[in-house]
Symmetry: C2
Subunit: 202 residues, 2 copies
DNA sequence: CCTACCGATCGGTAGG
DNA sequence: CCTACCGATCGGTAGG
């Protein structure tokens, strides 16, 4: 019964953590990772500030937990659905299209969560920057592998290494995200869609 | 003599403002426009907090003044030197190269000041966002005009409107800036340099 | 998980 | 331009 109650308490804590994290993510979506405060998060969830604090241990742990949540969401909405497409140029196109759809949907009002946080922490050091940099690297790696596959099989014409193609695509996607959310102009996303589509045709 | 003293006081204020602004810009370069505080700026300049406050009227006015300063710097270091090149594909290339040099120099440790602020304020509204959006628009317009000139004179092969070429270039530049400062990897800037050069060859 | 508190800091103001 | 102050808010802690 002691073990039972310990287990129940732990899972209560986890469920509670999950609930707080959902609210935290939606607050961070508006204000950014840094302007989110424990007090406002507590008010928004009906908990005490120290209750929220205790669930995460520090503000930085809370920020890292939000990043993990955003990463799962990105995997579910951008990466996973693209795995239906065949590796190579098809999957490369799917990843780009899904990315732009995800930006257009604006689940994060600040655009792609990772792009906005990257710009925020780019000039600094610390755990948050490192986590974002790792995630970004994995995304570019995913693009690179599919570019490599596409070029090896001559699925498209491109005069350069797969790394270059992947970097061109990823920078255009990030740049389009920022330009779109700055101007609120859907035309920007559509122009970049066109550009990427025509670039990925044989 | 009344007029004389009024003029001297005003120019004293302007000189003082200019001096404060220089320190403010260097603080904002590290911490961003929003994490800059009046108290830290006052400490860094040896003035009282209310003295600094009085020179600008509000924190937002201070932020806008920093934007203006960053804009002048961008004009001096990126735009002006590119005007030596002939309008068209040559000037287009010069603008991109100067932009990447400016990012590489890291006068703003947060990369291109406008890109990082754009990501910071993209999801919001207000005077700061509007100012940044205007500046960004003028930059893309400058690229577009030179793309138009280049395409009209068949200085390069490109299957699309000048607006599309300008958008491709500007998004790649912004994306490269963010990726570079996130990873601190000069290779990223060099790959994008190569990519843009080969794109702007006939 | 709570109340109650800490010192630090924020933007801004009063009054000179 | 200063001193001296305002209320609000910050991340975090003590103690339960």
């Amino acid at each position: 019964m002691g073990a039972d109650s310990a287990k129940r308490m732990r899972s209560d804590g986890e469920r509670s953590r999950e609930r707080i994290l959902e609210t935290a993510a939606s607050l961070a979506a508006v204000d950014g990772l840094y302007r989110l405060s424990l007090a406002r998060l507590a008010r928004a969830t009906g908990m005490s500030k120290s209750g929220v604090f205790g669930l995460f241990g520090s503000k930085e742990e809370l920020q890292l937990a939000i990043i993990d949540r955003a990463r799962s969401e990105f995997m579910n909405e951008v990466v996973e659905p693209s795995l239906i497409a065949r590796a190579g140029v098809e999957r490369l196109g799917a990843l780009c299209e899904r990315f732009l759809d995800y930006v257009e949907r604006r689940e994060w009002p600040s655009g792609c969560f990772f792009a906005s946080v990257a710009a925020e922490v780019g000039g600094r050091t610390g755990a948050i920057r490192d986590r974002i940099a790792d995630d970004q690297k994995q995304w570019v790696w995913l693009l690179t592998e599919n570019a490599r596959h596409a070029l090896a099989n001559r699925e498209l014409e491109f005069d350069g290494e797969p790394e270059l193609l992947a970097l061109e695509l990823s920078t255009m996607l990030t740049g389009a995200d920022i330009a779109y959310l700055l101007h609120g102009d859907l035309g920007i996303l559509n122009l970049i869609r066109m550009s990427i589509r025509s670039r990925l045709m044989v």
